[in-house]
Subunit: 346 residues, 2 copies
DNA sequence: CGTCGTGGTTGAAAGGTTTCACGTCGCGAG
DNA sequence: CTCGCGACGTGAAACCTTTCAACCACGACG
């Protein structure tokens, strides 16, 4: 049989055994070629390697993993793969993983608990070495269970009350605060906070930070209203824009703080398309400072988060947790920063 | 030992064997509970299930896969996970996969062959049931090899000359054509095409379509210039903007057609920030019609591609290839559509 | 001329699951 | 009472890899 023989014969894929047979060596030797090439003489090594390419041999990772007990793979379960914020976080993770010679699988829960659950179960069964996740609900007992069952897990961009995880977050309360302080500085006395659902910790904490800053400024609680949205999407931003436009003149806010940039961009788009001026008629602050915020209809003031560092740090914590027996869980918190642009400066 | 015993004892994770032992049944019965619950009496089933939760049993997917030979998993190797175009494609795939009860892993090659290669090797070793990929280089022999070695693979959004794959594409030549026809209609007689590197088939075909339309309109070849970029990113769009601004007045184009929206948005941003008017001073056409195109500084005219359908169709082809023994490779081609907005209409 | 490394290779065991041919038990029919 | 049958349950084999103790040949050394 020459090297032109079909790589896949009779449906079964070639295994080390087949390679061994063809190279006239024992099975252990093939494994040595694969894992400790220095221990095998040049001649045999070459013969074995030759046999591998002739047969189109592909190592069976399941079998290796079964034997070895680890997979050299991390996974990041993203909350929303279409939100640039999370893809930037993912990129940070990817780079850190690559440096540590780990494969990274991305999974998208799309904000749905059911899909998240399915992905988590699958990853656990796959015995990935560790999981990074931005969970739909950080309090879900499932997360603690996964750790208890032996798969390290770190929470990305979500606060956790208990100390059972490593987590990497950005101070959302502070983020809400700086956004509102900025608007107050610009003289606004009636402001809407747009975002939801409040079940999302993010949304809640930014709101709390906003309210705290508002009352610290001595303004009336009733002049900071919460316009709640179903999700944090561009579409919902548009809808919110319409709702705000529909408010009676005297109760209409002069500025809006959005729980993220997608909402802000949707809202901005709706506002501009109806001929209103930003920021003259309505000032807008977003959150995340995604790349598209700067190139929006009106460049968007936004609260920047260190997206890539968030991902990198999370991955590093996970790597430590996996390798270091005396690892201690840490909660790392980054600080957000207001980037002021035309949408509030005029 | 009560149900409060620690789930992970002595470092080893519980296996079906442990479950069997605790439930006082044989190992085969546990497997039956897992896979054919109807074949086991209610009493034993309950006992086994109880033992599983007590022990915190998690099925070892590697072992199952090793035995079964298939994994019920697809993977999509994305070219650029930060480009909203690809995340929308991924979403289409995700939804189709979910409907077919498959898990989906996303991998990001980040446009780098090396990383793509690493991901592919890993996926092949993992024995995923099928791979979807938007490759860095669709001609790479590696892709054909993967198929030959038994892993079905479909190419997403890249043309392939040979008929060895299923592929799903959008007619890029036509896309380039409609973009240029639109600009010609609007009276432009000097236009730049911004994008690169030409090694990317996409970039090349849109350029070819553009040139064909240009000469069909009877315009001089030298009046359609190609401004080449390193990559298709926002940053490169900005750079291109500067280069165009630096051109001597008489050779400066009155309109620009960008190879994708990221480039277009970067360029738009640069142009607007230097006080030029779009489209009066420079008209801009993008490509992809990502969600952010509509909310850009000046709403962007763009060539829309059916992103989600692209993904869904690709996944469906792959599912067919996996399940249907008489599957035939197909090349599905979608048709792009020009969405005219302010950036060319004024 | 035995003995002792030593570099190179071997073969069996282990790892967790599924499958399948085969027992066992109880019960109704003959 | 026996036979046969259905419902349940069993245990061994197979999937593919890695590891490790043992083995072999052979040159060096005493």
């Amino acid at each position: 049989m020459s090297s032109s023989s079909p790589p896949v014969r009779n449906g079964r894929r070639p295994s080390v055994k087949d390679v061994a047979e063809r190279a006239q060596v024992s099975l252990g030797t093939v494994s040595n070629v694969l894992n400790r090439p220095d221990r095998v003489s040049a001649g045999t090594r070459e013969r074995v390697e030759r046999a591998m390419v002739d047969l189109g041999f592909v190592l069976n990772e399941s079998a290796r993993q079964l034997r070895m007990g680890r997979s050299n793979t991390f996974a990041y379960v993203m909350l929303d793969a279409t939100n640039p914020f999370f893809t930037d976080v993912a990129r940070g993770i990817e780079l850190a993983a690559e440096k540590a010679d780990l494969s990274l699988f991305l999974c998208n829960s799309d904000g749905r608990s059911a899909r998240e659950h399915a992905h988590l179960a699958h990853l656990q069964q796959q015995r990935v070495d560790g999981i990074l996740i931005t969970p739909v609900d950080p309090e879900a007992p499932e997360l603690a269970r996964i750790i208890a069952q032996g798969t390290p897990l770190v929470i990305v961009d979500r606060a956790t009350t208990t100390g059972t995880f490593c987590s990497v977050t950005v101070d959302d309360r502070l983020g809400g605060r700086v956004a509102i302080e900025h608007l107050v500085d610009r003289g606004h006395t009636r402001v809407a906070y747009v975002g939801g659902p409040v079940a999302i910790g993010q949304v809640r904490e930014r709101w709390e930070g906003a309210r705290a800053a508002w009352s610290d400024a001595g303004l009336a609680e009733s002049d900071l209203v919460h316009v709640e949205t179903e999700t944090l999407s561009v579409e919902e931003g548009r809808v919110a824009g319409e709702r705000i436009a529909g408010l009676p003149r005297r109760s209409r806010p002069s500025a809006v703080f959005c729980a993220n940039d997608l909402v802000a961009l949707g809202l901005l788009q709706q506002v501009v398309s109806t001929g209103q001026k930003v920021p003259e008629d309505l000032a807008i602050v977003g959150y995340d400072d995604i790349a598209f915020a700067a190139s929006a209809a009106v460049p968007l003031t936004s609260v920047r988060q260190p997206r890539q560092s968030l991902g990198r740090t999370a991955a590093e914590l996970l790597i430590d947790e996996v390798n270091n027996p005396e690892h201690l869980h840490q909660q790392v918190e980054f600080t957000p920063e207001l980037i002021a642009r035309t949408s509030t400066l005029g």
